[in-house]
Assembly symmetry: C3
């Protein structure tokens, strides 16, 4: 299975073009669009989501990860083998937290094909490698080892909003098991208590909870946390 | 074929996570994203859409229906066998009109798996059942019969907007064959006459018509009915 | 492979309904959603995109193209065989530029099935033909030849914005090899110089570049060109 983890949007051409390329190179491998609406410029935020949302996928899954504000610059693409899963994408820090939590990590440099465009490496550089991996071709054998950009300055848990979903819920970069359930979270002056799920609080009430992927999420029962709490990606909060 | 009928959004993680789960459990069954933008809190509106939009799918199709404002509460999930199609989702009224119009309906209770999250039953409760059904496993044999929430207080035809589409057209909960084509519809003071289709009225003119799934739809030729008529989901209208 | 090139939106029912129809008629043919957010009323803009974005797909690919402001009117549907690819859609000018650049073009009339709806020809008229083509059925043998609407009044390169993408970049109807890289482009009074790619200009700077499909695109590094330049579909610009 190839899983798409990008900021490409769903309706426009980029996800479809990448999917068409995968289909030509690996016709029998199913492709799942996991995220198409990641924050395009906040690589640290995306790096917090990746380990949480890649868990639950079977061994051998190939993640095609493209949030690439520096596309066309000198930064190379990499192939990361973390425990039993594969990750392909730009070496901009996207894989930093994932690698930190893995038992075993190998990282290889992806050469830039001569005919690659300067603005669409997802289609021209990363998709062909993902397709070969998914077909069982161990690409790393011929690849040059690379140093993963490991961003040791980034904390393990990021007390910021890292994604706002379709309902307006604000996913944070904090793992749920790092916070006491008695904690009060303060975001933009709003004080939130924990609840088990939406239906446990009144309509219109804001709360925090451990979401279904193990991250702290700020939400409003039958309302939009992004609007009601002013929560946007990059917005900091604290535990009190 | 498994058909997704949800309020999950397309670009975010939920549709993809559910699709990945289906792929693991029923690798050869195609999955179609029919609706990802249903109204999250108006179950009655969604209940009007389901019978109209599930017609035309072949016998044996499994509909995975998740509009679930009460997720995590005590309400159970159900499996509904209505004539020759299968429906899986929360027992919140979603299947009420569908069942009312079917010749034969069976309803079974879905047990809550011990490891299910409290906020994502689409992935953890409903998808596994849909996958088994699509693989030909008659899940009902082992299931406890359930009482379908049949909402006898809901009318057969709902004189409200139940969905606004990508173009701004306002789909209503009224079946086209329940209204005379000579009727004038009044929504927010705008008076609409029937037309056969868009090109039958001038640019910018509002009209109503029988849409391609048999529901009354309010539209504007080369314009947006949602903006021009102020039509939103839940908005009432009347026939004059 | 069947490629969807429409203004249907992704989340609503239309793309899914068309995909379900394709799946029933051509179960083993993969379907790729390339564009779902084309401009619904600007057929000339869409006609500029089609030849640029259909290149790169393998011979035999079937493009299901539906931007159809005149649906339900007298205009017929057509099947276009341009070099080694197939195109199905309304004869409203969508295929004019594509045909002009092809070495060999055949065009056949699509009969309107008796049970077709008056508003959803994508599902009822075009999808069944696309499915038959993708299955290897040479539909044209039984079809009546048609005159392609060739819009000789439309220029080869359109100095207008023809699409704004998910990031706010403004794709134009001008092929990159028709403009000197020394050119300055003037849109709404903003003067743009060429750059090779995003990272070649400072954050917040506007520029133009040859996009990965060979069209001139107006962009802002880590910003939105649509907002910063006021660029919308149909907006004219000139080279100075």
């Amino acid at each position: 299975m190839i899983v798409l983890f990008t900021d490409f949007g769903d309706a426009g051409p980029y996800t479809g073009q990448m999917q068409a390329r995968l289909l030509q190179l690996a016709p029998d491998v199913p492709v799942v669009r996991l995220f198409s609406d990641l924050s395009p410029f906040d690589v640290q935020a995306v790096a917090c989501l990746l380990p949480a949302y890649c868990s639950g996928f079977p061994p051998g899954t190939v993640f095609l990860c493209v949030v690439d504000p520096g596309v066309g610059s000198e930064r190379p693409g990499v192939l990361v083998h973390a425990d039993d899963r594969w990750f392909v994408g730009p070496n901009e820090g996207l894989f930093a937290l994932l690698a930190r939590r893995a038992d075993r990590v190998d990282c290889a440099l992806l050469p830039l094909p001569a005919d690659a465009s300067s603005s669409f490496h997802g289609r021209d550089v990363f998709a062909p490698v993902a397709a070969r991996l998914a077909m069982g071709d161990r690409v790393t054998a011929q690849a040059q080892p690379a140093q993963l950009l490991d961003r040791t300055d980034w904390p393990d848990d990021l007390f910021q909003v890292v994604y706002t979903d379709h309902y307006g819920n604000a996913v944070t970069g904090v793992r749920a098991n790092e916070i006491e359930t008695s904690a009060t979270l303060n975001i933009n002056g709003h004080l939130l208590k924990a609840a088990k799920t939406f239906s446990a609080v009144p309509h219109g009430a804001a709360f925090w909870y451990a979401n279904s992927n193990g991250l702290i999420e700020l939400a409003v029962n039958r309302g939009r946390a992004d609007e009601q709490l002013g929560a946007v990606v990059g917005n900091a909060f604290r535990s009190e």
